[in-house]
Each structure stands twice: as structure tokens, then as C-alpha cells.
């Protein structure tokens, strides 16, 4: 059974038909990437999965269970966490408090502590800065924090919305390394990116989204050599 199964969803913002029948699956242990240009509907797809936006048609299933009846906060309890677009850390809370908020859905103090250790191991920088106010972190540190916060929910499925946005190439590389590492430790990842080349280099499979529709779907390797992708998203002719 797939970790995540999105079947033919249609989502709207008022009258705007933002998703026109999207289907995708993410198997357990995979990194799947969703690439596409501005306004293609990538963020909307993630919002439809987390329940902030309810699709008018179609199904979203987590390990076979229909998510439609659940409210956004309940879906977190089901094991889905998100690193939102633009990071959106709690700017006025300290790093530790941010991480603490990430574990809001959990009860076991010892498990939370273990996960905190894990996050600090993954991002030692966060440990150094744990008393600093979130808003004063650099862009790269904020991305680490947003990722760490999502990990504190101990998700089985991690949704990431453009983690490379606005970061210097060196930082992008290190963030993507961390994503691979998180995945190796057993978290399934759905990665939304505009930086198609980087995303395809760490993903197992990829979907290409254009104006609310999936136009291509293949293994990451195949997509990297695909003509359309190369032209449209990799800037290679």
C-alpha cells in the first residue's frame, strides 16, 4: 500500500480551478519530487494533502486511509508534517521554542527529547543557536529550523515546499544532502521544487506539474534526460 495516494483531485480557490485532476503516489521510503513553474499548483497540491484546502473532487489517502474527513491539525497526528513555503518559522520565538512547537502533537517527553537530539545532530548549527530568536537567523538557518520543526512531529511523510528558495548554491547543496539523510533515516519525502536539477538528483521519481495538471511522470533519471523537462525546467537546450 502506498504511503500517500492522491487520486484525481480538483481544488479551487473560489472560482479559480487550481488543480485539474492531479494523481500521484509516494511509496514508503521514497523521495518523490513535484516540479513545475510559478503558479503551476505545487503549493496547492501540498495544501490539498494537509487538508488546509479541501479538494472538491478526488481522494487523498494515507496508507489507504481517506484523509477527507480529517481537519488539518488531525492530519498532523496521522503522521504528515510540512515544511512550508518561505519557511515561516515563529519569528519571535527562540529556536528551542520553535522546535518545541513542532512537537505539539506529541506527548511522550522521552521521545520528544530523542527527536530533539536527532534534529541537533542533523543541524548542529541549531544547537549552537538554540536560544536565539528565530527571526534573527540567517535564511539558511531558518530553513534548517523549519525542517527541524517539522521533524519534531516525527512524521512518516514529510512534505517540503521549495526548501532551496532564496538560498545560495552552497547552502542548497547542503540542504539537499540533509534531505537525503532524513530520508535514509526512514522518513518518506514529497519534495516540491523549482530547482528541478537538484530535486531530480536526489529523488527516486518525479512528477511535472503545469497549470494544475500533471504533464509528465517518470523516474528521476528518465526525467533528467527528458527533452521537455530539459527545455522547460533545466534551462538546457
Amino acid at each position: 500500500m502506498a504511503m500517500l495516494e492522491v487520486e484525481n483531485i480538483h481544488s479551487y480557490y473560489g472560482n479559480i480551478h487550481a488543480l485539474k485532476g492531479i494523481s500521484l503516489t509516494v511509496e514508503e521510503g521514497e523521495i518523490v519530487t513535484l516540479i513545475g513553474g510559478n503558479g503551476a499548483g505545487k503549493t496547492t497540491t501540498l495544501r490539498s494533502i494537509t487538508g488546509i484546502l479541501k479538494p472538491r473532487q478526488g481522494h487523498v489517502r494515507l496508507e489507504g486511509e481517506e484523509l477527507a474527513p480529517y481537519k488539518p491539525h488531525q492530519i498532523v497526528y496521522k503522521g504528515v508534517a510540512m515544511v512550508p513555503e518561505g519557511r515561516r518559522i515563529f519569528a519571535r520565538l527562540s529556536v528551542s521554542e520553535n522546535l518545541d512547537m513542532g512537537a505539539y502533537s506529541r506527548n511522550s517527553k522521552s521521545e520528544i527529547k530523542a527527536d530533539l537530539e536527532r534534529v541537533f545532530e542533523l543541524f548542529p548549527r541549531l544547537k549552537e543557536r538554540r536560544n536565539q530568536v528565530g527571526g534573527t537567523l540567517s535564511g539558511g538557518e531558518q530553513q534548517m529550523l523549519a525542517t527541524g520543526r517539522a521533524l519534531m512531529a516525527h512524521p512518516r511523510l514529510l512534505l517540503m515546499d521549495e526548501p532551496s528558495m532564496g538560498l545560495a548554491p552552497v547552502l542548497v547543496e547542503s540542504i539537499f544532502e540533509k534531505i537525503t539523510e532524513i530520508n535514509k533515516e526512514g522518513t518518506t519525502i514529497l519534495l516540491v521544487e523549482q530547482n528541478a536539477l537538484m530535486a531530480l538528483s536526489i529523488a527516486n521519481r518525479g512528477y511535472v506539474l503545469q497549470t494544475g495538471e500533471i504533464i509528465l511522470h517518470d523516474t528521476a533519471e528518465a526525467l533528467r534526460t527528458n527533452e521537455v523537462v530539459r527545455k522547460a525546467y533545466l534551462g538546457i537546450t
Binding site: P84, R92, Q132
Partner: protein
Amino acid sequence: MNVRLASREGLLTGFINLCCILLGLTGLAGTMVGGWFHLSSRQPGAWLLLLGIAVWGGVRAVRRVPDPSRNKTLIAGLVAGVMHGLTLAVSLWLISTLLDAGAEVRKWLVQLTPEAIRLLTFGLSPVAAAALMFVVMTTAGLVGALWVRASERYPWQRTLSKGPTTVRTRFLALPAVQNFMQRKHSQQILWGGGLLILLFFPFVLGQYWNYTLGTVGIYVILGLGLNIVVGFAGLLDLGYVAFFAIGAYIVAILTAPAPHGIMMNFWLVVPIGIVLAALAGVLLGIPVLRMRGDYLAIVTLGFGEIIRILSKSDALTDFTGGPRGIRSVGGPGLFGFDVSSEFYFMYIIILGIVLAAYVTLHLQQSRVGRAWMAMREDEDVAQAVGIYTLQYKLLAFATGAALAGFSGVIFASRNKFTGPEDFTLLVSINVLCLVIIGGMGSIPGVVAGALVLKGLPEILRQLADYRMLAFGALLILMMIVRPEGLWPSTRRQMELHERAEQSGEPDAGSSPETGP
């Protein structure tokens, strides 16, 4: 170069001083200070203001000096003082000469009465008065310069502006205090001691102060409630008065002989008022809390007005007494004794504050408080970490409403009356102001804010017509000097200062008391 800047400061502040004289503010200061200290003369107050502005001019001039070596500071102060003195001396000479010549200066400048002039001249001749003014103002400029130097050596000025906070930290650092705090039941002892002192208060205060401070106390409870809604949960509610009104009308309807004659026992009505107000909070909350920010503010504002207008509408006159309100609202009794005087109400109010503060503190430190904090910061992300925001918003709304209802019950019962004009928009605004002035999200801040907002107008009573003007000016001044509020929560203080000190070391704001 510096001389020019310094003389400009001197001229500017001299002009301000002159304006104060011409507008009668100097005389007003005399009246006020005279009233406070029961002096027969207005001179001390008037000169206090005059000198204060001159000293300020000296301070400003010195601040302009880029390299404050000893001599340069003094020169700057001197220059400012001279210019300030010249401005005033010349004007004073001119005015008194004109007056002596019989000119009708008062046609344009109503405040320039002979008495007002005598305040400044001590009855001397124009030239002598001008000379005196010059000498005194020059000295004042120098004093300003010395003041800056002194305050640089001993940073007490900073202590003053960070006042309460610094005093508290210093106090907590005392060895004796530290020892005490480490004892087992220190918290309980402190609370108990504080409560005991509070219980003695009503004995010491006269009827007038029991009434005035009782009003302050009612606003403290209101403030604690709104603090939950605005300070903790970040929901801007401008119709908070509605729940206050609901509490007041419930006690009125259930205990007054007319229009219904139910005449229930006051103590039974208290829980009814609290529960119904909380219920109203939830009922209003369900449709309204899906809105955000400014929309929420406007809708709640509308709700507040609707409740007031309903209470005085013709349709409901039989039920609420209409525009004339309800009289003879019942007061509390205890074992057959009537305990509804201001004196006894003070106890009820103190008890109410203690309970409200306890509930607030408890909520703040629990999981609920954490959820509110996340929501206030970013509602979407709060949802994304698993917080059911609607539920916590409703909880904030209901708790706030319950406290407002409670204070409404006390308010109407203490006044033995309730009517629609007690519940205007101004009440909501006042409560919001006191929460902000005290320091959003801070429990002691609410107490400080209520004391200032409701207590200060009492102290300023002698100012009569100028009372609200002075009050407004003081509020503005307070927000400039202490934007984080009088007694901010450690968190909020950190938030505001972090912006100023962003470039500081990475561990800024990591004081041990920071945690929630």
C-alpha cells in the same frame, strides 16, 4: 559648528518654553503642583516647568556634541542656556513693558493675566525681571549639560527608563531574596503574604478611595480577560464591552425588583453571569473567529454596539428597562448581613482579581498557553504543527468573556444600577488601552495599566478642563518612553529589544527567566 547646533537647540526649547507661557501651561503647572502639595503659591510649579524645559534644552544641546569632552559639553550647555535665556528674557521684557504701557495684550493672548506675569517677574521691573530670567535660564542650560555628564558616569537614567524591570531584577538578585526563593513553600508564602496585605487595604482607604480603586479593580478583571484574547491569542476584539454588559444586565434582571421582580440571591447570579457571558463568547466566536485581523476587529466592534443598542431599544424595554436602565440592582448579602457597601465590594473585587489572575497564569503556563502563542505568531503554521486553532480561539474568547461577565456583575451590583450608556465603545477602547499600556500578555502589566488608566485621571482632577489633555499627553509620553508597556512580560520585552540589539551577540535574550 557645534556652537551653531547648540544655539539652535537653545532657541528651539526657548521657543517651546515661551509657547507654554503664552498658552498658560506654565500657570497650569503651578496650579497642579500647588494642588498636590497644598501650597499657597503657584510659583514653584510654574518655575519647575520653566526650569525643566531649559534643562532639557541643555541636554539636547550636549547630545549634539559628537565628542563629549568635558569642556565641549559645558560650552554646549552654556550656549544653549544663553540662547534659551535670551529668548525668554527678551520676550518677558517685551511683554511686561507692553503691559506697563497699557497695551491690551490679553485681546490675543487670553492667558496673559497680570497674575500669570507676576509668576515670572516676581513683581520686579521689566529690566530686572528679564535679567533674572536670563541668569536663571543660562544656569539651567549648564545644569542640563552637567546632568548628561553625570548620567554618563552613573547610568541611572537608563535605570529610570527601564525602571520597574531593573528594580525587579536587582531585587531578585539580593542574597536574602535568593535564599528565600529556594525555600520550599516560598511561592505560597509570597502569595499568602500579598493577599493578607491586600485584605488590609480596604480598612485603610476611605470610602472615596475604596470606590475609585474598586473601579480600577473592575478594570483589572476586564483587562485580565481581554489580555487573554488580545495578548495571548492575538485576536483583536473591539467589542469586549458586550460581555461586560451581558454580565451587568444579567445581575440587574435577576436581582432588581423591576421590571421582572425575580430578586434572586446575588451569589447565585455570579456563576450564572459568568456562564452566560462565556456562552455568548462562544456563540459570537463560532461565526466570527474564522475572520482574521482587521475584519475580526470590525465585526466584534459591531457586536459591541449591537448589544448596547439592543439594550436600549423600544422592543426590549420591558426586558432591559430601555434607555432608562434598571434601578435597585441587588447587592450581596452574607448570613443575613448586607455587605454591599464600597468597603465590602473591595473584598469581592480583590477576590475576583486573585481568581482571575490565577486562572490566567494557569492557562498561560499550560499547553493551552503554548497553542495561543503559536497561533498569535502564525495561524497557518500553528495548524500545521497540530493545533486546532478554532478550538483555542473559542477558548480564549470564552475565558475572556467569562471574566468580562464577572466584572459586569460586580459593576452593576456595586452601582445598584445598570443602563445602556455604561457600555459604550469607549469601555472597550479603555480596556484595550490599559492592556497595551501595561504590556501585552503580562499579568502584572494589566494591574499597572489599570492603575494608570483609571487612577491617573483621578490624580489629575485639579486640572479640570485640561485633565483629558494632560492625560492624553502622558499616555503618549509613556508609549514613547516604554513602548513595551509599563510591566512587560519577559517575552514581549525580548521581542521589542531584539530588534534594537539584533546585531548583538548570538545569545541575546537567553536570560534564564525567558522560558514560558
